[in-house]
């Protein structure tokens, strides 16, 4: 199932994260109320292992500022939904990757380099050892934590009712070490296998084996965490799995999406409109349920982002189709700068921008996507990862910042399907650029929809762009200057919606295709609309009264037909 709105929550979750243990307990109520008043309908609380572990194997979820039950009662009393993150690496503002120092120090738990040194990552003011998800010792520790937290949460749910969503797994933010060749050389990860070097443009099989081993370890780790949560009382239907980095370069994300909803990070503002658009569109096509983290501020050791820029990045993500999301951070008492609310629960200067965005988010269309698809399937992602040209830099982070799989791998790397990675990337990039310049809704997707409008293997990119522009002409607006905006088309019942997102610093003019397009306020858009830099325009047309798109994905057509049974179609 791809990109349909099949999320478990009936209403989109528009959440703000609150790091309640870092805030005065007396302020919790006011903070939650302030966020609700701004338009958030959910509160997302990460549970930080190192904060709740009173002693080895002894956890506190009830006392003082650690009282999860009191926090969830506050959320419930405010009429809001609750989201709980169990991690183990649940958020990036807590020190030590959220893990107790005893776990960080345990050599049996540490990921290893080729020379069996700890794989350390920046966690200012320290460098800390990354845990090995292959390590039996670490898996025991991590699942014990998730089991304890799940049991505590299940007890609270019995009293206060169920939470809307539970998130397990590491991330979603890119870890600084994720190269398949450099780590993990923990004995539990590789046994007696010798370390290998990245094959670059040589024979790919040894590299692909490394990537698949890495993928299987991540999937097994996540599955073990989900199992620990469900065995201790949490509903499987409400669990989604966090994936570190970007799904576009993660074979594990591709595999996990078959069975789980995913939590993914949106790129930061500096990555640009196209990178954010691309990541969200890809993720929505990948997993049935997707939850995104968008930014408001960051830990102090991240590059700073202005408030208006983080709101602008969230606007792009929503325009691209993000439905359920968490703003990190709604409110935190330490180690986070630029949250929506101050540590005292007062609205920060950019809070009014969030209020406006949340109101606007509720008006965005949902439904079946109409688009020309460019496929970056799991095999391509594995090949790009195996042929990494940036070894040992973190692929997940670079993908999040806008690099495609084809750009991350060495251009000359051979593909099993024939040709090279570079040639494949050139074809995709050329087609994508032409489609964007023509105003055609386009996606890079993980798999072709059956019967969908997809660039065939070996098809000339220019020819595909022309074919797609002709077939989707009914949803292709004229945009001047060419390529100044990205377009998304959505079919919902008898209505077609266009979402046009500016991606340039100058104004653009958008003229919709044909008659009958209306603006959200009800005015007509036929004569064209001026799109301000960074703005998003939504248009709608009643399909019963006007020409239907000449072609769209049969799956979408079938869905519409099913909903419209018995009704006369124009």
């Amino acid at each position: 199932v791809a990109d349909a709105d099949t999320e478990t929550a009936p209403e989109a979750l528009r959440a703000a994260m609150v790091r309640f243990p870092t805030l005065e307990r007396a302020r919790w109520g006011a903070i939650v109320a302030a966020l609700r008043e701004m338009g958030f309908n959910a509160i997302d609380v990460p549970l930080v292992w190192r904060e709740h572990e009173a002693a080895h194997g002894v956890f506190d979820f009830t006392e003082g500022s650690l009282a999860l039950d009191a926090m969830l009662a506050t959320v419930r009393d405010a009429g809001m939904a609750a989201i709980v993150r169990l991690g183990p690496i649940a958020t990036d503002d807590a020190p030590g990757l959220c893990l107790p120092d005893r776990v960080l120090r345990d050599r049996a738990c540490q990921a290893r380099t080729k020379r069996q040194n700890p794989v350390v990552v920046a966690d200012p003011p320290r460098l800390v050892p990354l845990p090995s998800i292959a390590s039996e010792a670490y898996r025991r520790e991590a699942t014990a934590w998730v089991a304890a937290a799940s049991a505590a949460l299940a007890r609270i749910e019995a009293v206060h009712g169920p939470v809307a969503r539970v998130i397990v797994g590491d991330g979603p933010h890119a870890l600084l070490r994720d190269d398949p060749y450099e780590m993990d050389h923990h004995p539990d990860a590789r046994g007696e296998l010798a370390a290998i070097e990245p094959p670059h443009d040589g024979p790919q099989e040894p590299g692909l084996a490394e990537v698949r081993r890495e993928r299987d370890l991540r999937v097994a780790f996540c599955d073990a965490l989900v199992r620990a949560a469900t065995e201790h009382g949490l509903s499987r239907a409400r669990i989604v799995v966090a994936v570190p980095g970007a799904a576009t370069i993660s074979p594990a994300a591709h595999q996990l999406a078959a069975h789980h909803g995913l939590l993914l990070a949106c790129p930061p503002p500096i990555a640009g409109t196209r990178a954010i658009w691309h990541q969200v569109r890809h993720a929505r096509a990948l997993a049935a349920a997707t939850h995104f983290d968008v930014w408001s501020g960051a830990p102090p050791y991240y590059p700073p982002a202005r408030g208006s820029h983080t709101v602008a990045a969230a606007r792009v993500a929503l325009a691209a189709g993000a439905r359920d999301f968490t703003v990190r951070m709604g409110c935190a008492g330490d180690r986070w700068v630029g949250a929506v609310l101050s540590e005292r629960g007062e609205a920060r200067p950019h809070a009014h921008l969030w209020r406006e965005l949340l109101a606007w988010a509720a008006t965005l269309p949902t439904g079946e996507e109409i688009a020309a698809d460019l496929v970056e399937d799991a095999a391509l992602v594995e090949a790009a990862r195996a042929a990494t040209g940036v070894h040992p830099l973190p692929l997940g982070l670079l993908a999040l910042l806008g690099l495609t799989p084809g750009q991350l791998g060495v251009a000359g790397a051979p593909l099993a399907r024939g040709g090279t990675l570079g040639a494949h990337e050139d074809a995709l990039a050329t087609a994508e650029q032409r489609l964007i310049e023509a105003g055609v809704p386009v996606r890079r997707v993980p798999h072709a929809a059956r019967g969908g409008l997809t660039m065939e293997q070996g098809e000339d990119p220019a020819a595909f762009a022309a074919r797609a522009a002709a077939k989707l002409a009914a949803v292709v607006p004229a945009i001047e200057p060419r390529g100044a905006a990205l377009v998304r088309a959505v079919q919902n019942g008898g209505r077609v919606h266009l979402v046009v997102c500016s991606q340039r610093a100058g104004e653009a003019r958008v003229v919709p295709p044909g008659e009958g397009w209306t603006l959200p306020g009800g005015g007509t858009a036929s004569a064209g609309v001026v799109l301000a830099p960074g703005a998003v325009l939504t248009l709608a047309r009643d399909e019963e009264k006007h020409a239907r798109p000449r072609t769209r994905a049969p799956r979408a057509a079938a869905a519409t037909k099913a909903r419209s049974t018995g009704r006369k179609r124009s």
Binding site: R126, G297, R306, H309, H391
Partner: protein, 347 residues
């Protein structure tokens, strides 16, 4: 300096952005739709990974992946930077970054403090640079200069901010506090790092002129948090310009002209303000006194500079560290892209 127990609070996104981009303009925030415009600008850093004579990947921090042909060698990195409109180049031979990770992983310990950790990482990077596997262009510090030790850095920290004292930098934009940072030391590390929200709460309404307001701010902060080791009060734009000015003595001139007010002003700060001019003051240089004017010379701050200079003549940060960190910073800032882009107070 900063430990796990250091609490960082009181910064909204704008004030933090203003503070950080003063000294790191390359980290300046951009709206998503400004990506193409930024890519078209000169500046940024080019990251190059090469293997033998082939460049595996070149990534520009503003433009993403860029096409680059053959590895030109260390001596031609300037030309490579110019060809891609970059102001800095960081190049690594295949395997060098992995080797860097190995060395750091082997040496660092979980209990190491920030200074030790940073020095270990810099030391490993310096080794690989010496071995010809890592390259930075331009070279900002002479390779022959050894890194300072953790002990030297600790003593410097003790000197700059003694235990039990606080340090304040309050920067103004017109008639309001633009950004600020208040660091409070308790024991070996900073206990709290507080932003302008806390400062506004402690100080209350201000008159709108930092040359007068500092007299209100300092006692209010000292009542709330203890004695200040030093305080810096100025317009943000003034500090922005001073940080980029490589001329000796510009800080002392700004202090004399009351464009920057330092209150209190410890000895080391007087030296940092411009050792050359301060030494000249100590020697009662006629030229300096003429430059400052009679009123300037009679100014209590200038008298203080002179007194301090006499007391600390011979103390020189360049001599302690082996290089002048302010000159290196100015060189970096001069090469960096413009930082501030006029963010609005409503943000």
């Amino acid at each position: 300096v900063i430990s796990l127990d250091t609490h960082i609070t009181g910064f909204d996104a704008r004030s933090w952005h203003r503070l950080v981009t003063l000294v790191a303009p390359g980290l300046s925030s951009r709206a998503p739709h400004e990506f193409d415009a930024r890519a078209a600008e000169e500046g940024g850093t080019l990251l190059v990974l090469y293997h033998g004579e082939r460049i595996l990947r070149a990534v520009h921090t503003h433009r993403g992946v860029v096409a680059a042909g053959a590895w030109p060698g260390r001596d031609d990195l300037g030309a490579l930077a110019q060809a891609h409109g970059a102001r800095f180049v960081l190049a690594a031979e295949a395997g060098a970054v992995e080797e860097l990770y190995e060395r750091i992983g082997a040496r660092v310990r979980l209990d190491d403090d920030l200074a030790t950790t940073v020095l270990l990482a810099l030391g490993a990077a310096r080794e690989l640079e010496d071995e010809g596997q890592l390259h930075l262009w331009p070279r900002l510090v002479d390779q022959r200069i050894p890194l300072p030790t953790a002990t030297v850095l600790k003593r410097t920290f003790d000197f700059v901010l003694p235990d039990g004292r606080a340090a304040l930098v309050a920067l103004f934009d017109g008639d309001a506090i633009d950004t600020a940072v208040l660091a409070i030391r308790r024991g070996a590390t900073l206990e709290r790092v507080l932003g302008p929200e806390v400062l506004r709460e402690v100080v209350g309404p201000l008159g709108g002129d930092f040359r007068r307001d500092y007299r209100v701010i300092r006692p209010a902060v000292e009542r709330a948090f203890g004695p200040l080791a030093f305080g810096v009060f100025a317009e943000t734009a003034t500090v922005h310009a001073l940080l980029r000015d490589e001329r000796a003595g510009v800080w002392a001139e700004a202090i004399a002209a009351r464009d920057v007010i330092m209150d209190p002003m410890p000895a080391w700060l007087a030296m940092a303000a411009g050792a050359g001019v301060v030494r000249a003051a100590a020697a009662r240089s006629k030229g300096l006194m003429a430059g400052l004017g009679i009123l300037g010379a009679l100014n209590p701050t200038v008298r203080r500079i002179r007194e301090v200079a006499e007391a600390v003549s011979g103390l020189d940060v360049e001599r302690v560290l082996g290089f002048n960190p302010f000159r290196v910073l100015a060189e970096i800032l001069r090469r960096s892209s413009p930082g501030d882009r006029g963010d609005q107070r409503t943000e």
